[in-house]
Symmetry: C2
Subunit: 457 residues, 2 copies
Amino acid sequence: MSDVTDQLPKNGPEKDQLLQNMQQAVLNGDQVWVKATLEAMHPADASDLLEQMPRDEFEAALALLGGELPSDVLIELRDEYREDAVEALPDAAVVDALDELDSDDATTVLEDLDENRRERILDELEPVDRAVLEARLVHDEDTAGRLMQHEFLAAPEFWTVGHTIDHARDNAAELPDDFYEVYVVDPKIHPVGYVLLSQLLRTPRNVKLSDIMSDLHSDISVATDQEEVAYQFQKYSLASAPVKDEEGRLVGMITVDDMVDVIQEENTEDLLALSNVSSADGSDTVFETVRARAPWLAVNLVTAFIASGIIALFEDTLDQIVQLAILMPVVAALAGNAGSQGLAVAVRAIAEREMEGAAQRRAIVRETTTGVVQGVLFAIGVGLVSLLWFRDTQLAIVISLAMFASFVWAGFSGILVPLALRKAGADPAVASSVFVLTLTDTMAFFSFLGLATLILL
Amino acid sequence: MSDVTDQLPKNGPEKDQLLQNMQQAVLNGDQVWVKATLEAMHPADASDLLEQMPRDEFEAALALLGGELPSDVLIELRDEYREDAVEALPDAAVVDALDELDSDDATTVLEDLDENRRERILDELEPVDRAVLEARLVHDEDTAGRLMQHEFLAAPEFWTVGHTIDHARDNAAELPDDFYEVYVVDPKIHPVGYVLLSQLLRTPRNVKLSDIMSDLHSDISVATDQEEVAYQFQKYSLASAPVKDEEGRLVGMITVDDMVDVIQEENTEDLLALSNVSSADGSDTVFETVRARAPWLAVNLVTAFIASGIIALFEDTLDQIVQLAILMPVVAALAGNAGSQGLAVAVRAIAEREMEGAAQRRAIVRETTTGVVQGVLFAIGVGLVSLLWFRDTQLAIVISLAMFASFVWAGFSGILVPLALRKAGADPAVASSVFVLTLTDTMAFFSFLGLATLILL
């Protein structure tokens, strides 16, 4: 084993070499080497290595390992790879993995199974484990009830520091692997406070928990949405938090590492949604990629032809002044860009909950004023360039006025579209960019060609 | 005090009421109420309340409080508000805050001061505190050296669990408020492993740390960039990690709450950069907003006129066939959208380090193939709509061919531009969208008008 460990690199060209060795070993069917290498690595590094392989080689590696993929590597795999792996593993291996994993991770694996296989595998678990896992699956996806683990350390208020530590030593096997605080509960098992382990550690044995406990700031129940949970973790700088059932009893614990994943997931969703991509993963096939993107392009096809319809209204004008066709994309491009800027800022502020009450009113005023200021700046800029190019004062005046109107409109749309979507209960990141661009395009073409018809003809 | 605490709401209309009460109290100069209310709240809630006030009212509140703004509220404020607050506080209050805060938070406050005032205030600190803070300022911003705190618990390998706990009790005052693990060090103070507090807690007193310690997976030195630190936290699900100096000696600790902030910051930067905004904050003035956006619009002004230049090449063609002017924005809009989709996916994959070696080659193949597939789909779609509208087969063929060429080009640009920027050492999120849109616009206009000139005239 030490041979294997010694050759494990963290970065750079050695990492590529390790990948090549792994691919070669899979090709050669060298099960012993593959298994020893994966076990010698940190599970996160091992899963990274497996994910670097193309999907078909990854499946070959799984087949080679049979049921021998360590459960801590399995749980570190990205969704798509983990689903493939769970599908490929024999039932007995899945049962073993469920036994070994904490209940939150076990639930993730269970979710990957189809109905029939899930039933079959649940039947093979110990009745207690089965009950715990089935209780979790009752909660909606993306809620605290799904994310939490059932293993945690709770103690009544009257326990002393010494008693609590002794209890932990005596019940070591039932405690979670990592935890950061003890939850103090009343006789009804309602959490009333918490004691950080670092606090417990530095306090004399005879002190009561009630004397050193802090107030709970988080307020999380099994039905709380994961976005709200992540928000509370960030706001109160939490490492973990207790989860209550509908009656307010302590039933689980959420730890910050899961919240970091949620935060990344929500951020990725917003960023992709703003660019009209519904989902993306490094292992996506072309088919999956097209499925995640083509629907929005189809919507864009409709909106683009609407913009064309606006242009078509001014066919006669365009026929007489060809310069308008040359300049019209400038107005649309700049206004669209200004609208996207405001939109990105608004979507971000909404996600970070900085767009409430007075802050929202301030943002609307700021974005509109910014539209006016930038409208003046770029009306002058675009007007000057056009004047230099075409030496036509009236044309320059027309494009300047259109630019100004489009910027003010872009300022409005960039802030009002996401706020309206939020008010309607929709995700402001999804769909807003298509709306905003359609609104700015329409305004740009209409104002430019309309003013040209009025002034130049 | 209990009156104040009882009336503290968490959400909804009561929160707006509290804000109004606070604004009224500031207006009335009711220092006692303002102070008592802020102290009764969690620092994160108190800072939220202050941030909801317009900047001028916030400054009035600061003036009213004088030096009485609690340091834990100060440190929770968003950058802009904290800078204002530090500026407004008297020197004595800043010195008190620096005394009370952990060294990482104290550094944040020091960074807000101008050179002269910083010197003056450092002079008033205890020599030991001063030395610690000055040592930190040596490290570059955005490195582990700036983010870490100097307070942590380290122990030699031969210590037992009991000895470690006793040591923590005897030195309680010097330990950080929150920490999650003990770092095990060799005689040269090089970290060789760690013991989670939850592990320490459940292990009998006579067991040696060397028998229960785990290997360190993180590898962070004072010079490590914060993005790399955040990556290691995510990858290895860390709650905290040790920081080493250039000689590999343990000098500090970073905790996950700071990393969550870094992750949010990096995500915000990427999302805004993709929409050509260089920075944004809820409290920005119109001037700050324009300064963060106008430079990219100015770049866009240049690129938009480049696209116009392409169109101008085909002035004669446009003069003869006005339908081209009507349809040309459709080609540009769809191709631009397709390019942005690929770009967003690529930028995200780069940020999540999923775009290395084999994965990069796969992504290039996937994006190009996606361009071809979507090119075929939308060439047919756009062609059909054009045919129905204008009843002109040749025009429909021209726009279909242009659409196909532009989609393939968009697929290429969306992936190659960010990869090229990364290779050049630039941030792939910044500037890529302007590049990609310019490339797709140029291709769209050139292919559509060029093919029209060849085929239709």
